[in-house]
Protein backbone atom coordinates (compact mmCIF):
# COMPACT_ATOMS: atom_id res chain seq x y z
CA UNK A 1 0.00 0.00 0.00
CA UNK A 2 2.77 2.39 1.01
CA UNK A 3 4.81 1.20 -1.92
CA UNK A 4 1.89 1.81 -4.19
CA UNK A 5 1.85 5.46 -3.08
CA UNK A 6 5.50 5.82 -4.10
CA UNK A 7 4.70 4.52 -7.57
CA UNK A 8 1.79 6.95 -7.97
CA UNK A 9 4.00 9.83 -6.85
CA UNK A 10 6.58 8.69 -9.39
CA UNK A 11 3.94 8.78 -12.12
CA UNK A 12 2.92 12.35 -11.31
CA UNK A 13 6.50 13.56 -11.00
CA UNK A 14 7.01 12.27 -14.52
CA UNK A 15 4.62 14.87 -15.99
CA UNK A 16 5.00 17.72 -13.50
CA UNK A 17 6.61 20.84 -14.88
CA UNK A 18 7.16 22.64 -11.62
CA UNK A 19 8.05 21.68 -8.06
CA UNK A 20 5.13 19.99 -6.29
CA UNK A 21 4.49 20.64 -2.64
CA UNK A 22 3.65 17.78 -0.30
CA UNK A 23 0.17 19.24 0.06
CA UNK A 24 -0.55 19.36 -3.66
CA UNK A 25 0.71 15.80 -4.05
CA UNK A 26 -1.39 14.66 -1.13
CA UNK A 27 -4.46 16.38 -2.61
CA UNK A 28 -3.96 14.89 -6.04
CA UNK A 29 -3.47 11.42 -4.58
CA UNK A 30 -6.08 11.65 -1.83
CA UNK A 31 -3.36 10.63 0.60
CA UNK A 32 -2.30 11.96 3.99
CA UNK A 33 0.55 14.47 3.98
CA UNK A 34 2.72 12.46 6.42
CA UNK A 35 2.38 9.39 4.21
CA UNK A 36 3.38 11.44 1.16
CA UNK A 37 6.34 12.84 3.07
CA UNK A 38 7.55 9.37 3.99
CA UNK A 39 7.13 8.15 0.44
CA UNK A 40 9.09 11.12 -0.89
CA UNK A 41 11.87 10.40 1.58
CA UNK A 42 12.00 6.81 0.44
CA UNK A 43 12.06 7.82 -3.20
CA UNK A 44 14.93 10.21 -2.58
CA UNK A 45 16.90 7.43 -0.89
CA UNK A 46 15.90 5.00 -3.62
CA UNK A 47 17.17 7.21 -6.45
CA UNK A 48 20.30 7.95 -4.44
CA UNK A 49 21.08 4.24 -4.42
CA UNK A 50 20.50 3.82 -0.71
CA UNK A 51 17.71 1.27 -1.09
CA UNK A 52 19.68 -1.50 -2.75
CA UNK A 53 19.32 -0.26 -6.31
CA UNK A 54 21.75 1.78 -8.39
CA UNK A 55 22.44 5.47 -7.87
CA UNK A 56 20.23 6.81 -10.65
CA UNK A 57 21.13 9.31 -13.34
CA UNK A 58 18.31 11.46 -11.93
CA UNK A 59 17.44 12.61 -8.45
CA UNK A 60 14.47 13.96 -6.53
CA UNK A 61 15.22 17.41 -5.16
CA UNK A 62 13.34 19.80 -2.95
CA UNK A 63 13.60 23.22 -4.54
CA UNK A 64 11.40 26.27 -4.20
CA UNK A 65 9.26 24.59 -1.58
CA UNK A 66 8.38 21.56 -3.68
CA UNK A 67 9.71 18.33 -5.10
CA UNK A 68 10.84 17.83 -8.64
CA UNK A 69 12.90 15.38 -10.68
CA UNK A 70 16.29 16.66 -11.79
CA UNK A 71 19.17 15.21 -13.71
CA UNK A 72 21.75 14.27 -11.06
CA UNK A 73 24.41 16.96 -11.07
CA UNK A 74 27.12 14.42 -11.96
CA UNK A 75 25.41 14.12 -15.33
CA UNK A 76 24.64 17.78 -16.02
CA UNK A 77 27.45 17.88 -18.56
CA UNK A 78 26.15 14.79 -20.33
CA UNK A 79 22.72 16.33 -20.91
CA UNK A 80 23.87 19.89 -21.56
CA UNK A 81 24.14 19.24 -25.31
CA UNK A 82 20.68 17.79 -25.34
CA UNK A 83 18.66 20.61 -23.97
CA UNK A 84 17.99 23.74 -25.85
CA UNK A 85 19.28 25.87 -23.02
CA UNK A 86 17.64 29.21 -23.34
CA UNK A 87 19.71 30.78 -20.64
CA UNK A 88 18.13 34.08 -19.73
CA UNK A 89 20.52 36.96 -19.93
CA UNK A 90 22.38 37.51 -16.72
CA UNK A 91 21.10 40.05 -14.27
CA UNK A 92 23.15 43.21 -13.99
CA UNK A 93 25.01 43.99 -10.81
CA UNK A 94 22.46 46.69 -10.02
CA UNK A 95 19.60 44.19 -10.44
CA UNK A 96 21.34 41.62 -8.24
CA UNK A 97 21.91 44.13 -5.48
CA UNK A 98 18.35 45.39 -5.65
CA UNK A 99 17.13 41.81 -5.54
CA UNK A 100 19.29 41.19 -2.47
CA UNK A 101 17.81 44.19 -0.69
CA UNK A 102 14.26 43.05 -1.48
CA UNK A 103 15.01 39.46 -0.46
CA UNK A 104 16.30 40.46 2.95
CA UNK A 105 13.95 43.34 3.68
CA UNK A 106 10.67 42.12 2.19
CA UNK A 107 7.98 43.23 2.00
CA UNK A 108 9.52 46.53 1.02
CA UNK A 109 8.40 49.50 -1.04
CA UNK A 110 10.34 50.71 -4.04
CA UNK A 111 11.07 53.94 -2.25
CA UNK A 112 12.58 52.11 0.69
CA UNK A 113 14.75 50.05 -1.66
CA UNK A 114 15.86 53.22 -3.39
CA UNK A 115 16.83 54.80 -0.11
CA UNK A 116 19.03 51.84 0.76
CA UNK A 117 20.53 51.66 -2.70
CA UNK A 118 20.82 55.45 -2.90
CA UNK A 119 19.75 55.32 -6.53
CA UNK A 120 16.54 55.11 -8.52
CA UNK A 121 15.52 51.48 -8.87
CA UNK A 122 12.36 51.76 -11.02
CA UNK A 123 13.66 50.09 -14.16
CA UNK A 124 15.49 47.42 -12.21
CA UNK A 125 12.32 46.58 -10.26
CA UNK A 126 10.49 46.26 -13.57
CA UNK A 127 13.10 43.84 -14.87
CA UNK A 128 12.85 41.75 -11.72
CA UNK A 129 9.04 41.71 -12.01
CA UNK A 130 9.25 40.61 -15.64
CA UNK A 131 11.59 37.83 -14.69
CA UNK A 132 9.11 36.70 -12.07
CA UNK A 133 11.74 36.95 -9.34
CA UNK A 134 9.72 39.44 -7.32
CA UNK A 135 6.02 40.19 -7.11
CA UNK A 136 3.76 42.90 -5.79
CA UNK A 137 2.92 41.75 -2.28
CA UNK A 138 0.46 44.45 -1.27
CA UNK A 139 -0.27 48.12 -1.61
CA UNK A 140 -0.07 50.27 1.46
CA UNK A 141 -3.59 51.64 1.85
CA UNK A 142 -2.37 54.94 3.26
CA UNK A 143 0.55 55.84 1.05
CA UNK A 144 -0.42 53.82 -2.02
CA UNK A 145 3.12 52.45 -2.07
CA UNK A 146 3.41 49.00 -3.61
CA UNK A 147 5.39 46.60 -1.48
CA UNK A 148 7.43 43.89 -3.16
CA UNK A 149 8.32 40.38 -2.06
CA UNK A 150 10.30 37.61 -3.68
CA UNK A 151 8.64 34.66 -5.43
CA UNK A 152 8.94 30.89 -5.34
CA UNK A 153 10.57 31.15 -8.75
CA UNK A 154 13.44 33.01 -7.12
CA UNK A 155 13.84 30.18 -4.61
CA UNK A 156 13.83 27.69 -7.48
CA UNK A 157 16.43 29.60 -9.41
CA UNK A 158 18.60 29.88 -6.33
CA UNK A 159 18.08 26.17 -5.66
CA UNK A 160 16.77 26.77 -2.14
CA UNK A 161 13.48 26.05 -0.39
CA UNK A 162 12.86 29.00 1.79
CA UNK A 163 14.17 32.42 2.57
CA UNK A 164 15.66 30.96 5.74
CA UNK A 165 18.33 29.43 3.54
CA UNK A 166 19.64 32.81 2.45
CA UNK A 167 23.07 33.36 3.96
CA UNK A 168 22.97 35.63 7.00
CA UNK A 169 24.08 39.14 6.24
CA UNK A 170 27.42 39.82 7.79
CA UNK A 171 27.39 40.90 11.42
CA UNK A 172 28.82 44.14 10.10
CA UNK A 173 25.47 44.96 8.63
CA UNK A 174 23.69 44.10 11.86
CA UNK A 175 25.57 46.93 13.53
CA UNK A 176 25.17 49.21 10.61
CA UNK A 177 21.54 48.46 10.10
CA UNK A 178 20.63 49.34 13.62
CA UNK A 179 22.16 52.73 13.28
CA UNK A 180 20.44 53.08 9.99
CA UNK A 181 17.03 52.16 11.28
CA UNK A 182 17.33 54.68 14.03
CA UNK A 183 17.98 57.33 11.47
CA UNK A 184 14.84 56.74 9.56
Amino acid sequence: METELERRIEAILMIADEPLSLVSLATALSAAVPAVRQSIERLVADYDGEAGGPRRGFELREVGGGWRLYVRDDYDDVVADFVLTQNPTKLSQAALETLAVIAYKQPISRGAVASIRAVNVDSVVRTLLGRGLITEAFTDSETGAIHYATTDLLLQQLGINSLDELPPLSPLLEDGAEGFDDAR
Binding site: E97, V101, A145, S170, A177
Partner: protein
Protein backbone atom coordinates in the same frame (compact mmCIF):
# COMPACT_ATOMS: atom_id res chain seq x y z
CA UNK B 1 43.10 59.36 14.52
CA UNK B 2 41.13 62.14 12.93
CA UNK B 3 43.26 64.93 11.63
CA UNK B 4 42.31 68.55 11.20
CA UNK B 5 41.49 69.33 7.60
CA UNK B 6 44.34 71.72 7.12
CA UNK B 7 47.93 70.83 7.92
CA UNK B 8 49.87 67.87 6.71
CA UNK B 9 48.11 64.58 6.94
CA UNK B 10 50.64 61.92 7.89
CA UNK B 11 50.97 59.02 5.54
CA UNK B 12 48.83 56.12 6.62
CA UNK B 13 50.80 53.08 7.63
CA UNK B 14 50.89 50.37 5.09
CA UNK B 15 48.10 47.90 5.49
CA UNK B 16 49.30 44.74 7.09
CA UNK B 17 49.35 41.70 4.91
CA UNK B 18 46.76 39.46 6.53
CA UNK B 19 44.20 42.20 6.49
CA UNK B 20 44.70 42.74 2.80
CA UNK B 21 44.23 39.04 2.28
CA UNK B 22 41.07 38.93 4.27
CA UNK B 23 39.44 41.69 2.31
CA UNK B 24 40.75 40.51 -1.03
CA UNK B 25 39.41 37.08 -0.18
CA UNK B 26 35.94 38.46 0.32
CA UNK B 27 36.17 40.27 -2.96
CA UNK B 28 37.15 37.19 -4.91
CA UNK B 29 33.53 36.19 -5.13
CA UNK B 30 33.47 38.50 -8.06
CA UNK B 31 36.29 38.18 -10.51
CA UNK B 32 39.23 40.31 -9.60
CA UNK B 33 41.39 41.42 -12.44
CA UNK B 34 40.02 44.56 -13.99
CA UNK B 35 38.54 46.11 -10.88
CA UNK B 36 39.02 49.76 -10.20
CA UNK B 37 42.22 50.37 -8.24
CA UNK B 38 42.99 53.53 -6.37
CA UNK B 39 46.37 55.12 -5.78
CA UNK B 40 46.26 58.10 -3.48
CA UNK B 41 48.73 59.32 -0.97
CA UNK B 42 49.08 56.71 1.72
CA UNK B 43 47.03 54.07 -0.01
CA UNK B 44 47.23 51.97 -3.09
CA UNK B 45 44.94 49.08 -3.85
CA UNK B 46 41.44 48.08 -4.88
CA UNK B 47 38.61 50.49 -4.18
CA UNK B 48 36.89 47.80 -2.14
CA UNK B 49 39.80 47.56 0.24
CA UNK B 50 39.89 51.30 0.65
CA UNK B 51 36.24 51.24 1.63
CA UNK B 52 36.57 48.54 4.19
CA UNK B 53 39.54 50.27 5.79
CA UNK B 54 37.56 53.46 6.09
CA UNK B 55 34.61 51.55 7.46
CA UNK B 56 36.81 49.95 10.12
CA UNK B 57 38.16 53.38 11.01
CA UNK B 58 41.61 52.23 10.00
CA UNK B 59 42.04 54.84 7.37
CA UNK B 60 40.99 58.39 7.92
CA UNK B 61 38.60 59.68 5.32
CA UNK B 62 39.89 63.19 5.85
CA UNK B 63 43.30 62.08 4.62
CA UNK B 64 41.95 61.17 1.24
CA UNK B 65 41.85 63.50 -1.67
CA UNK B 66 38.56 62.45 -3.23
CA UNK B 67 39.33 64.52 -6.30
CA UNK B 68 42.35 62.30 -6.97
CA UNK B 69 40.19 59.19 -6.66
CA UNK B 70 37.62 60.76 -8.95
CA UNK B 71 40.24 61.68 -11.53
CA UNK B 72 41.58 58.15 -11.50
CA UNK B 73 38.10 56.81 -11.78
CA UNK B 74 37.31 58.94 -14.81
CA UNK B 75 40.39 57.72 -16.61
CA UNK B 76 39.48 54.17 -15.58
CA UNK B 77 36.03 54.72 -17.08
CA UNK B 78 37.57 55.72 -20.39
CA UNK B 79 39.12 52.29 -20.67
CA UNK B 80 35.90 50.40 -19.97
CA UNK B 81 34.24 48.36 -22.62
CA UNK B 82 32.23 45.51 -21.15
CA UNK B 83 28.85 45.81 -19.50
CA UNK B 84 30.21 44.17 -16.39
CA UNK B 85 32.73 46.93 -15.98
CA UNK B 86 29.99 49.47 -16.41
CA UNK B 87 28.24 47.85 -13.49
CA UNK B 88 31.31 48.51 -11.44
CA UNK B 89 31.23 52.07 -12.59
CA UNK B 90 27.71 52.67 -11.36
CA UNK B 91 28.61 50.97 -8.13
CA UNK B 92 31.44 53.41 -7.74
CA UNK B 93 29.08 56.33 -8.13
CA UNK B 94 26.86 55.09 -5.33
CA UNK B 95 29.78 54.63 -3.00
CA UNK B 96 31.52 57.80 -4.02
CA UNK B 97 28.41 59.80 -3.15
CA UNK B 98 28.43 58.24 0.30
CA UNK B 99 32.16 58.88 0.62
CA UNK B 100 31.61 62.50 -0.20
CA UNK B 101 29.01 62.79 2.53
CA UNK B 102 31.37 61.01 4.86
CA UNK B 103 34.16 63.35 4.05
CA UNK B 104 31.98 66.36 4.65
CA UNK B 105 31.10 64.96 8.05
CA UNK B 106 34.74 63.99 8.59
CA UNK B 107 36.03 67.47 7.95
CA UNK B 108 34.18 68.89 10.89
CA UNK B 109 36.37 70.61 13.40
CA UNK B 110 37.14 68.59 16.45
CA UNK B 111 39.56 69.03 19.30
CA UNK B 112 39.32 70.44 22.74
CA UNK B 113 36.09 72.03 21.78
CA UNK B 114 33.77 69.15 22.45
CA UNK B 115 30.25 70.34 22.72
CA UNK B 116 26.80 69.13 21.90
CA UNK B 117 27.04 70.24 18.27
CA UNK B 118 30.14 68.19 17.65
CA UNK B 119 28.74 65.11 19.25
CA UNK B 120 25.65 65.31 17.10
CA UNK B 121 27.75 65.71 14.00
CA UNK B 122 29.80 62.70 14.95
CA UNK B 123 26.59 60.74 15.21
CA UNK B 124 25.66 61.86 11.73
CA UNK B 125 29.03 60.60 10.58
CA UNK B 126 28.41 57.20 12.13
CA UNK B 127 25.13 57.00 10.30
CA UNK B 128 26.97 57.45 7.05
CA UNK B 129 29.37 54.69 8.02
CA UNK B 130 26.37 52.55 8.73
CA UNK B 131 25.07 53.22 5.27
CA UNK B 132 28.40 52.23 3.80
CA UNK B 133 28.41 49.00 5.79
CA UNK B 134 24.90 48.23 4.75
CA UNK B 135 25.76 48.84 1.14
CA UNK B 136 28.74 46.50 1.39
CA UNK B 137 26.70 43.77 3.06
CA UNK B 138 24.04 43.79 0.33
CA UNK B 139 26.76 43.82 -2.27
CA UNK B 140 28.22 40.65 -0.75
CA UNK B 141 24.76 39.09 -0.66
CA UNK B 142 24.35 39.99 -4.34
CA UNK B 143 27.55 38.06 -5.01
CA UNK B 144 26.03 35.00 -3.36
CA UNK B 145 22.86 35.39 -5.45
CA UNK B 146 24.92 35.56 -8.60
CA UNK B 147 26.84 32.39 -7.74
CA UNK B 148 23.66 30.50 -6.93
CA UNK B 149 21.98 31.63 -10.16
CA UNK B 150 25.00 30.37 -12.06
CA UNK B 151 25.25 26.99 -10.39
CA UNK B 152 21.50 26.39 -10.40
CA UNK B 153 21.27 27.55 -14.02
CA UNK B 154 23.37 24.52 -14.94
CA UNK B 155 20.92 22.05 -13.38
CA UNK B 156 18.32 20.28 -15.46
CA UNK B 157 14.82 19.68 -14.12
CA UNK B 158 12.44 17.43 -16.00
CA UNK B 159 10.18 19.60 -18.17
CA UNK B 160 8.48 17.67 -20.90
CA UNK B 161 5.42 18.26 -22.97
CA UNK B 162 2.32 16.70 -21.56
CA UNK B 163 1.49 13.50 -23.40
CA UNK B 164 -1.29 13.94 -25.90
CA UNK B 165 -3.52 11.39 -24.21
CA UNK B 166 -3.58 13.45 -21.02
CA UNK B 167 -4.01 16.69 -22.86
CA UNK B 168 -7.00 15.22 -24.66
CA UNK B 169 -8.59 14.44 -21.32
CA UNK B 170 -8.40 17.95 -19.91
CA UNK B 171 -11.81 19.54 -19.63
CA UNK B 172 -12.86 21.66 -22.54
CA UNK B 173 -12.32 25.34 -22.18
CA UNK B 174 -15.38 27.42 -21.47
CA UNK B 175 -14.85 30.60 -23.46
CA UNK B 176 -16.86 33.55 -22.23
CA UNK B 177 -14.87 36.52 -23.48
CA UNK B 178 -16.41 38.64 -26.25
CA UNK B 179 -14.32 40.25 -28.95
CA UNK B 180 -14.79 43.67 -27.33
CA UNK B 181 -13.80 42.34 -23.92
CA UNK B 182 -10.74 40.77 -25.47
CA UNK B 183 -9.68 44.10 -26.99
CA UNK B 184 -10.32 45.78 -23.65
CA UNK B 185 -8.03 43.25 -21.98
CA UNK B 186 -5.34 44.06 -24.51
CA UNK B 187 -5.70 47.76 -23.78
CA UNK B 188 -5.43 47.03 -20.10
CA UNK B 189 -2.27 45.05 -20.65
CA UNK B 190 -0.68 47.64 -22.93
CA UNK B 191 -1.56 50.65 -20.84
CA UNK B 192 1.67 52.02 -19.45
CA UNK B 193 1.76 51.06 -15.82
CA UNK B 194 1.79 54.04 -13.58
CA UNK B 195 4.86 53.90 -11.46
CA UNK B 196 3.64 55.62 -8.36
CA UNK B 197 6.38 57.60 -6.76
CA UNK B 198 6.76 56.85 -3.14
CA UNK B 199 7.08 59.75 -0.81
CA UNK B 200 9.50 58.49 1.78
CA UNK B 201 8.43 61.29 4.04
CA UNK B 202 5.19 59.47 4.70
CA UNK B 203 6.95 56.25 5.54
CA UNK B 204 9.62 57.40 7.89
CA UNK B 205 8.84 60.90 8.95
CA UNK B 206 12.21 62.25 9.99
CA UNK B 207 12.41 64.18 13.21
CA UNK B 208 14.11 67.02 11.41
CA UNK B 209 14.02 67.60 7.71
CA UNK B 210 17.18 68.84 6.06
CA UNK B 211 15.06 70.25 3.28
CA UNK B 212 13.01 72.30 5.72
CA UNK B 213 16.13 73.56 7.39
CA UNK B 214 17.59 74.39 4.00
CA UNK B 215 14.48 76.42 3.24
CA UNK B 216 15.03 78.30 6.47
CA UNK B 217 18.71 78.92 5.67
CA UNK B 218 17.84 80.04 2.15
CA UNK B 219 15.23 82.43 3.46
CA UNK B 220 17.73 84.02 5.85
CA UNK B 221 20.66 84.26 3.45
CA UNK B 222 18.78 85.39 0.38
CA UNK B 223 18.24 88.77 1.94
CA UNK B 224 21.85 89.37 0.90
CA UNK B 225 23.54 90.04 4.22
CA UNK B 226 26.32 87.59 5.15
CA UNK B 227 25.63 85.71 8.36
CA UNK B 228 27.72 83.62 10.67
CA UNK B 229 26.73 80.03 11.32
CA UNK B 230 26.30 80.98 14.95
CA UNK B 231 23.64 83.50 13.91
CA UNK B 232 22.03 80.94 11.66
CA UNK B 233 21.46 78.52 14.48
CA UNK B 234 20.46 81.10 17.02
CA UNK B 235 17.32 80.00 18.74
CA UNK B 236 17.57 76.40 17.59
CA UNK B 237 17.10 74.32 20.67
CA UNK B 238 17.07 70.83 19.30
CA UNK B 239 20.45 69.26 18.64
CA UNK B 240 18.97 67.65 15.57
CA UNK B 241 17.91 71.01 14.17
CA UNK B 242 21.46 72.31 14.47
CA UNK B 243 22.85 69.25 12.75
CA UNK B 244 20.27 69.39 9.99
CA UNK B 245 20.90 73.07 9.49
CA UNK B 246 24.61 72.41 9.18
CA UNK B 247 24.04 69.61 6.70
CA UNK B 248 21.72 71.93 4.80
CA UNK B 249 24.53 74.48 4.61
CA UNK B 250 26.89 71.82 3.26
CA UNK B 251 24.29 70.74 0.72
CA UNK B 252 23.73 74.31 -0.39
CA UNK B 253 27.47 74.72 -0.70
CA UNK B 254 27.62 71.61 -2.83
CA UNK B 255 25.01 73.14 -5.10
CA UNK B 256 27.09 76.30 -5.30
CA UNK B 257 24.34 78.43 -3.89
CA UNK B 258 26.34 79.77 -0.99
CA UNK B 259 29.98 80.47 -0.19
CA UNK B 260 31.60 80.45 3.19
CA UNK B 261 34.61 81.97 4.79
CA UNK B 262 36.56 80.77 7.75
CA UNK B 263 39.58 82.93 8.54
CA UNK B 264 41.25 80.51 10.92
CA UNK B 265 40.77 76.84 11.83
CA UNK B 266 37.84 76.47 14.20
CA UNK B 267 37.14 80.16 13.70
CA UNK B 268 33.86 81.85 12.96
CA UNK B 269 32.08 80.54 9.87
CA UNK B 270 30.59 83.26 7.71
CA UNK B 271 28.07 82.39 5.02
CA UNK B 272 27.12 84.35 1.96
CA UNK B 273 24.45 83.91 -0.71
CA UNK B 274 26.05 83.51 -4.18
CA UNK B 275 23.48 81.76 -6.33
CA UNK B 276 22.42 83.65 -9.43
CA UNK B 277 19.45 81.53 -10.21
CA UNK B 278 17.48 79.77 -7.56
CA UNK B 279 14.15 78.05 -7.71
CA UNK B 280 12.02 76.16 -5.32
CA UNK B 281 12.75 73.08 -7.42
CA UNK B 282 16.41 73.24 -6.48
CA UNK B 283 15.27 73.11 -2.91
CA UNK B 284 13.18 70.02 -3.55
CA UNK B 285 16.21 68.03 -4.64
CA UNK B 286 18.24 69.01 -1.60
CA UNK B 287 18.97 66.51 1.07
CA UNK B 288 17.73 63.54 -0.93
CA UNK B 289 20.95 61.71 -0.04
CA UNK B 290 19.80 61.72 3.51
CA UNK B 291 16.55 59.99 2.70
CA UNK B 292 14.33 62.90 3.39
Amino acid sequence: MPQPPSGDAPAVDTVDADQTDAVAGAGEVEEGEKRFRVAVRGFEGPFDLLLSLIAKHELDITDLALSTITDEFISYLAGLDSEEELDQASEFLVVAATLLDLKIAGLLPRGELVDAEDVALLEARDLLFARLLQYRAFKEAAGWFSQRFDSEGGRHPRIVRLEEKYRARTPELVWTVSLQDFAALAMLAFAPKEIPSVGLDHLHAPLVSIREQAAHVVALLRRGEPMTFRQLIAGAELKGVVVARFLAVLELYRHATIAFEQLEPLGELTLRWTAESWSEESLASLGTDYGN
